[in-house]
Subunit: 233 residues, 2 copies
Amino acid sequence: MAAKSERTRELVLQTALRHLRERGYEATTMRGIAAEAGVSTGNAYYFAGKDELVQELYRRIQQEHRTVAAPRLTPGAPLAENLRTVLHAGLEAMTPYHGLGTGLLTRALSAQRAVSPFSAASGAPRQQAISLMAETLTASRGTPGGALGNRLPQLLWLAYLGVTLHWALDTSPDQQRSRVLVDGLAPLLARTISLVRLPVGRRLSTDVIELLDRLAAPTAPDTTSPTEGRREP
Amino acid sequence: MAAKSERTRELVLQTALRHLRERGYEATTMRGIAAEAGVSTGNAYYFAGKDELVQELYRRIQQEHRTVAAPRLTPGAPLAENLRTVLHAGLEAMTPYHGLGTGLLTRALSAQRAVSPFSAASGAPRQQAISLMAETLTASRGTPGGALGNRLPQLLWLAYLGVTLHWALDTSPDQQRSRVLVDGLAPLLARTISLVRLPVGRRLSTDVIELLDRLAAPTAPDTTSPTEGRREP
DNA sequence: CGATCCTTTTGAACACGTTCAATTCCTGCT
DNA sequence: AGCAGGAATTGAACGTGTTCAAAAGGATCG
């Protein structure tokens, strides 16, 4: 049975997450994790490295975010209310790890590398967050459908990314400033989205959609020389 | 005269910036910098550390941004045009350092620590970037004044931060996707700003201003126990 | 010139992340 | 029980960022 390595892996992971929570990024050392887990230094490398441990933590936080947020959504409530709920749930899930500072956000972003946060491609943890936003939208009343409706989850996720950035840099006690941000931002976003009912909003909406499409389109190869039949050397 | 240390400092800095440009973050080592500069290891620590070298690079990039952008502003042109110019200039200034990946953004953000990017407080390099946005606005025609006008530089800087994030994660050839983003975002932002002329826009505007004010306000101390005369233990 | 004092430089030393050849452990077989 | 072979573990070794007591250098005095 190959279950032994699995137990060790889990032991290392749990120890690592605890150290990250209690000591922050720099003070958490691979040697320290190994020592406290009662294994040798090299055995801490069931994970590719320290950064992957942080990514794992990030994944767990997202999982927690979804778990906490989903049952709190009120079907048929205004978007502003459900959005506020979801964003606050996100802050809640992250709170124990505020000591990591920008480290958390940083490593999470590096993990996304190769996939722009503005495009819809498939980063596994991000896709989950985006689908949580989709649930938030479908649970709320009065949200637009059509082409904009399809893009809204992605756009709301971007807003959530902004909140996360604010939170990571937030030094106010208990990050209460970030809560103020969420309380203000949720109705603001909801009202902005409802603009799509007006002609002026439709215009903005189509422009946003067009931009997102252009960003998602495959990159055009260099067409500086229009000569046909050329191959890349 | 204390000019000798100054020369060494500059020598170390120049070598460091070159290595960062040519080799990226990880492959640039303090020992390598010192060796190539012809000094001993410890002498590379005229700067507090490797991260501060990156911050210094960030400062230079911002300086370059301003230098490149300012003369290109067209007085009296529409905001969309000048904004596009300024954002493209930003990409230009950063381009040689794209190899640093998220490292650049990361260290720049950590440097801002203690000052939320959403508040207007005085981070030295940021203040410069915000004032460049202010220049962009005053150079353009039809931009709103009043309370919103006062906040717009800050808000545009946030948009610029978003572009920077996109650029840092952009793996398309020559970061052309980020250029697409700028081309689409500039008119979009300009049109959004012009919404303030309509009643619906004024409403959004006052909400944004109120939120920014709340975020900038000093943090309220914990008022959980209204008992008077208590002191923190 | 030499002595004093401050500035500047040095490089050994420490703890870290990471790698990997060597070792130990365990399982399934005869 | 004995043994082969794979799985799991080890810890020394490398290169890194960073620190700091000691050494070297340079200016200013008598």
